[in-house]
């Protein structure tokens, strides 16, 4: 086990606490850089979605994970980013300009949402953000001169410094990866700055933060703005990746998916946003794979346990019928969410930490290390 002896305040806020971090993240980055040459084009395309979802996840993590303000309206911010890109692109505005413009506009809208959210907590905040998302969705559908209404907008191929960047090519993947990495590094820097400390203080106790001199309103609005801006940037990439956007893509369903990203990944660390995004994007191809192969596998298992060919055939047919039933995906989604909340509240990254600690402390690991305290006394209404 490695012991870190901190002798200086600077040690506490280092980006890389020890050399192990540099090595492991270096290897990861190297793998991601050669990925387009190794993996199939389908997987690279999925990786692009992972990058976009992870960027949104990081944005949402700042707000929900670190400032403690729940939001079920992030699809609206994504939509604003995407539509800004699509709109400005019609006037031949270069990519870097509309990319930043989308971020700025979404950030401004985020700050606007942040103001009413100042007085709201818990469930009231959730419903306010849902309402906001509905209103944005309706505006997108009705403001036809700008958004082309329900018919949606085509997004032209991205062009960067005169070069066309097709949405399936490796360059687009590198662009998304670069945005994700820069967002993560930027967020890490933000979180070790006074601003980030103030966010965490607000999350842990608003009253305590206020009594320590943190301007709670200011930092809440800041958190909303930053989170929205990052989501808006992801929205630009999202629009380019899909090459077509319409209002019904940015529904509550998408906002819930973003929350699932950080919930399944783990809400206490940025790792969670990335792991959650990988999980959410990759579950689709995985389920498709299961749907095709599971009947054969189950029938094979039945056959090895001595079932004759007719029974095996029946089992094959039954499993295939269940696996191809409509809406099975929704049920699996639901079960996964419930199981994570019940059994793995710290998410995938929490599981990773547990496994790591298990081997570090072997054989002295105690399960209670990660046990959360249940609170039956406090009422969330009395705040």
């Amino acid at each position: 086990m490695r012991f870190l002896f901190k002798t200086d305040y600077e040690d506490d806020i280092k980006l890389f606490p020890h050399s192990g971090y540099v090595v492991s993240y270096g290897i990861l980055l190297a793998f991601l850089l050669i990925a387009p040459f190794v993996l199939s084009s389908y997987l690279v395309s999925q990786l692009v979605f992972v990058c976009i979802y992870a960027t949104v996840g990081v944005g949402l993590m700042i707000l929900t994970g670190f400032t403690g303000q729940a939001s079920l309206g992030h699809a609206a911010f994504l939509a604003i980013g995407a539509y800004t890109a699509a709109y400005l692109q019609q006037y031949n505005v270069p990519f870097p300009v509309y990319f930043l413009a989308a971020g700025l506009l979404t950030g401004a809208v985020g700050a606007l949402v942040g103001f009413p959210a100042l007085r709201l907590t818990g469930i009231y905040l959730v419903i306010a953000t849902i309402s906001f998302a509905f209103i944005v969705e309706e505006i997108l559908a009705r403001w036809e001169t700008v958004t082309n209404g329900n018919e949606g907008m085509r997004v032209k191929t991205l062009s960067l410094f005169g070069q066309a960047v097709p949405r399936d090519g490796p360059t687009f993947y590198y662009l998304c990866l670069a945005v994700l990495v820069l967002t993560i590094v930027g967020t890490l820097n933000l979180l070790r700055s006074p601003t980030g400390r103030a966010f965490v203080a607000i999350r842990d106790s608003e009253t305590a933060a206020r009594s320590m001199g943190v301007n709670v309103s200011l930092y809440k609005v800041k958190s909303f703005a930053i989170s929205a801006a990052i989501t808006g940037l992801a929205g630009v990439l999202f629009a380019h990746k899909l090459s077509f956007i319409s209002p019904e893509m940015f529904t509550l369903q998408l906002s819930i998916e973003f929350i699932i990203v950080i919930l399944i990944g783990g809400t206490f660390s940025l790792h969670g946003a990335v792991l959650g995004a990988i999980f959410l994007v990759m579950i689709d191809p995985f389920l498709t794979y299961l749907k095709d192969d599971l009947p054969g596998i189950v029938a094979g298992i039945a056959a090895t346990f001595g079932a004759d060919s007719i029974t095996a055939g029946k089992i094959h047919g039954n499993v295939a019928a269940i696996a191809s039933a409509n809406g099975l995906k929704g049920a699996i989604y639901g079960v996964i969410i419930v199981l994570f909340v019940l059994f793995e509240p710290l998410g995938l990254y929490g599981r990773w930490l547990k496994i790591k600690l298990f081997f570090q402390l072997f054989p002295l690991y105690k399960r209670a290390t990660f046990k959360r305290q249940k609170i039956y006394v406090k009422s969330e209404r009395n705040r």
């Binding site: 929900t64 729940a70 009413p116 007085r119 709201l120 818990g122 469930i123 009231y124 959730v126 419903i127 306010a128 849902i130 309402s131 906001f132 509905f134 209103i135 309706e138 559908a141 009705r142 009253t207 009594s211 509550l252 819930i256 929350i259 699932i260 919930l263 039933a325 409509n326 809406g327 099975l328 995906k329 929704g330 049920a331 989604y333 639901g334 079960v335 996964i336 969410i337 419930v338 909340v341 019940l342 509240p345 959360r372 249940k374 609170i375 039956y376 006394v377 009422s379 969330e380 209404r381 009395n382 705040r383």
Partner: protein
């Protein structure tokens, strides 16, 4: 003027359905501080149970209604036992996510069992209208309004006059203190879920003649009932119904008098304005945290 009254009545009827779903939200929230995002889906499931009993098995309407309510009460207890009880006492957000997951699950399972078509339940109120002068009021809408008033009165009496109701209010204030006072908190919570699922079923069955039931109806109506509960102030039973009726009337008026598109947004705009002016809702009680 006639149009206005007509719209008002249909708005109130729709609002009563929202109010009934919102009542389910409020009941669960009052007793356990859990916000049940799957409330609309419980309503949908209740509607499908009733459809099975009445439409497929051919039972009498009232018998089928009662059967659906009892079955759903049992289901509510089961859902509480499996999904909610293990995470009671954890931050509110985890519980919200768990109920969202439950909603996903219910929607797709119902879709798999009953299919994704629209279904209709024949009720004694389906046909027939009440004529007052030149005003025409359909029985199905009036039945919703009447049932809402009766249910509200019953629930109000239950919460304020019975021992069990008082126990529920106590455990909502402070579970631990209630437990020390000898209140079987777990059983109380379980009963609350049963009641809320039963109320949701009543909403679902009453709704069936007005709009068809299909596997997504819970999501659509739940998202309208949610602003209703918030508008009235989460945790207030009269507030939920008043909020529901307000949302219903606003929606119906906006659909009639305002250009297309306002119908769906108007309730949310009103909600945001109310939250801005009065963050705890119309009937909510604002409590300060003591440090």
């Amino acid at each position: 003027m006639l149009d206005f009254v007509q719209q008002l009545v249909s708005g109130i009827a729709l609002g009563c359905v929202y109010g009934l779903i919102a009542l389910g939200f409020v009941l669960v929230y009052k007793a356990t501080e859990v916000v049940n995002f799957a409330q609309g889906d419980l309503m949908m499931l209740g509607g499908f149970f009733a459809f099975t009993f009445i439409g497929m098995l051919g039972l009498n309407y009232w018998l089928g209604f009662a059967g659906a309510v009892i079955a759903m009460a049992a289901f509510g207890m089961l859902a509480e036992r499996v999904v909610v009880r293990p995470i009671l006492g954890y931050p509110q957000f985890s519980i919200i996510m768990a109920t969202i997951g439950l909603g996903y699950f219910l929607r797709s399972v119902v879709g798999m069992i009953w299919g994704t078509d629209d279904f209709k339940i024949e009720t004694p109120f389906s046909q027939g209208v009440l004529r007052i002068g030149s005003l025409v009021l359909a029985y199905d809408k009036l039945s919703v309004i009447a049932a809402t008033i009766i249910l509200c009165a019953l629930l109000y009496l239950f919460f304020n006059r019975t021992t069990l109701g008082t126990a529920m209010r106590a455990s909502s204030e402070n579970m631990l203190a209630a437990y020390y006072m000898g209140i079987p908190v777990k059983r109380v919570v379980s009963i609350v879920w049963a009641i809320s699922a039963a109320v949701a079923t009543a909403a679902g069955v009453l709704l069936a003649p007005i709009t068809f039931i299909h596997s997504n109806v819970g999501l659509v109506l739940g998202l309208k009932a949610f602003p209703a509960a918030v508008l009235g102030g989460f945790g207030s039973i009269p507030g939920a119904v008043v909020g529901g009726v307000l949302i219903g009337v606003i929606e119906s008026m906006a659909g009639f008098y305002l250009p297309q598109g306002w119908k769906d947004v108007a309730p949310y705009i009103v909600l945001l304005v109310v939250l801005l002016l009065k963050p705890e809702g119309l009937f909510g009680v604002h409590m300060r945290k003591k440090v």
